[in-house]
Subunit: 344 residues, 2 copies
């Protein structure tokens, strides 16, 4: 079976170009969302501790089983560690054999950005060209490149409370071809834009966007309100917008809509993608994608990665399966005359 | 982080000796069972398909999170594949970072045998020296070595419906120091023994042991009745025995006791190990360990493996975590001047 490490994903992205990978990922996600009913969807498993949470996100269709391991440890950042890392497994349903274990630290960032841009393609005004990004952390550059590649965004207005984050973002975006203006407040950033992306890391209910900042016709891509107790938008915005979610039972707990009653109307995005309901209905409508990240997106990312990394330069062969010549003779492996170490 | 492959486990077993590994594993399991209350125990997650099942078995204490991926695909054997393979992850609860991914195909066989012998040490007569093994598939040799090492079993009486399985077993056991008699029927195998181990692979309710075959004082180590619809013992035996289980809610569904009403009395083995209740109470009592395999045993196996494989000859370093110098600069990894591939 195959192991895809961080270096392999980096090599893949350098080979194909980030924009091209994001476009392909979005297409894969779109295909999978269109066949929503074919997936066996489960609530995620979460092991909570005083420090954070470790989650397992399993999902399967008739052919493939996928599962992502992912953590969320806010205090990691102070220790110089990442707050979110992950890896995934893709397995063959017919035999139960795992096919691939892959890093999902970079891939989660990629699929999140691809998903955001995919949603915006269905929900933002067709001629959207400018976007504000509030929060310039680990996810911000991926959002910028995804919206440039998938929607033709040409202008960014960006803001972060931390000037160091802004400097990092501007440095990373050099040569991107995007016109970028950094602003002193979130309010200035959203002035006149077609799309607002919020990706702050604050682990509390905060108000990154207040109601008076949001004009008619805007699409809001709300990425950072993604776990219980963590929201970014003033609730009044939700009441003026049409709200789209990935998987309603999960978003009720984790998304911006945890601020509003359980009967607050939302639309699952797959229905828009599958053509079962409308996305944006008129120019002046406020649309909101309340993004929390759903297992199908990881499944799409793992499937994409499995297809894209068959070249031996892009993975490593590993053995977790034993594979004795006689399946009943596991014990015999321990008695081989030649050390198995010589095999690799 | 660390990857422990099949070849590494083989090397470890050759280095330390199988008996020694089984003794150490049993000790680790015993320690973990003694602190039963410290574990966050969850029901396993199961994705069923027409071909089989893929399961996730997560468990955690305050320091470590463990999870095993394992399948069960009976039809695999006809295709020359193993019916059960697995791998596990061990993670640090404080940071959410995975520490190790390890093969659990061989390790599951090892921990199952260690668990059986550990249970028998508490439940079989103290002077037990002879054991019958019914079913000579992939698990049988591990059971034989574990009972020899942990209980001082010196004599085996063995039976399988397939002479090829018997031949494989006898070949593998050459030089073990055990006196082994192979018999023509299961009934002959159990004649006069102190312990009976059943480890057949038949995926239906079958009767490997019938009531008239079981005399007073025997300990039955029932390993093969381990999933819904798969049992090995005639129900009448259960009514004559004191029945011990790993985790009652799971065994009610998967074990031999699926044949009897839900109020049939059982004792959880950890209570015996922790000294909270008695094991065997007198010489003539029939004791029965209704083994299905529980997540703590995998946790113990993963912890053991993590401690035992720190030598670089016994694992491989892999990167699923990215680890950018600035945790907020994941994007920067894609822009490194030196290809990350050069790092390894």
């Amino acid at each position: 079976m195959r192991l895809v490490e961080v270096k392999h994903v980096i090599a893949l992205v350098r080979q194909r170009g980030l924009a091209s990978v994001l476009v392909d990922l979005a297409e894969r996600i779109e295909q999978d969302y269109r066949r929503w009913g074919q997936f066996d969807k489960s609530p995620r498993y979460a092991a909570h501790s005083p420090h954070g949470v470790i989650e397992l996100m399993p999902i399967a269709d008739a052919e493939r089983f996928g599962c992502k391991y992912v953590n969320g440890h806010p205090a990691n950042q102070a220790a110089g560690l990442q707050t979110v890392i992950g890896f995934g497994v893709l397995a063959d349903v017919a035999t139960g054999y795992p096919l691939m274990i892959a890093e999902m630290t970079l891939m989660t960032a990629l699929r999140t950005a691809a998903m955001s841009a995919l949603a915006a393609r269905h929900l933002a005004r067709p001629n959207a060209r400018s976007m504000a990004i509030i929060g310039l952390g680990a996810q911000s550059e991926f959002q910028a490149v995804a919206f440039q590649a998938l929607l033709g965004i040409t202008e960014l207005r960006v803001f972060d409370v931390d000037p160091a984050a802004t400097a990092k973002f501007l440095g990373n975006m050099q040569g991107s071809g995007l016109r970028i203006v950094s602003t002193d407040t979130a309010g200035e950033a959203v002035e006149g834009v077609d799309i607002v992306t919020t990706v702050t890391a604050d682990k509390r209910a905060s108000t990154v966007l207040s109601d008076n900042m949001i004009g008619g016709g805007i699409h809001i891509n709300a990425v950072g309100g993604d776990c219980p107790g963590k929201t970014e938008l003033q609730a009044a915005i939700l009441h003026r917008a049409r709200v789209f979610v990935e998987f309603e039972p999960q978003t009720r707990i984790e998304g911006e809509i945890q601020q509003v009653p359980a009967d607050f109307p939302v639309t699952e995005l797959w229905q828009v993608i599958a053509g079962e309901t409308t996305g944006r209905e008129h120019r002046d409508e406020i649309t909101l994608f309340d993004s929390v990240g759903f297992a199908i997106e990881d499944f799409s990312a793992l499937s994409y990665l499995f297809d894209a990394t068959s070249d031996i330069a892009l993975h490593r062969e590993i053995d977790l399966l034993a594979a004795p010549a006689d399946p009943r003779d596991l014990f015999g492996l321990l008695r081989q005359p030649e050390p198995a170490l010589a095999r690799v």
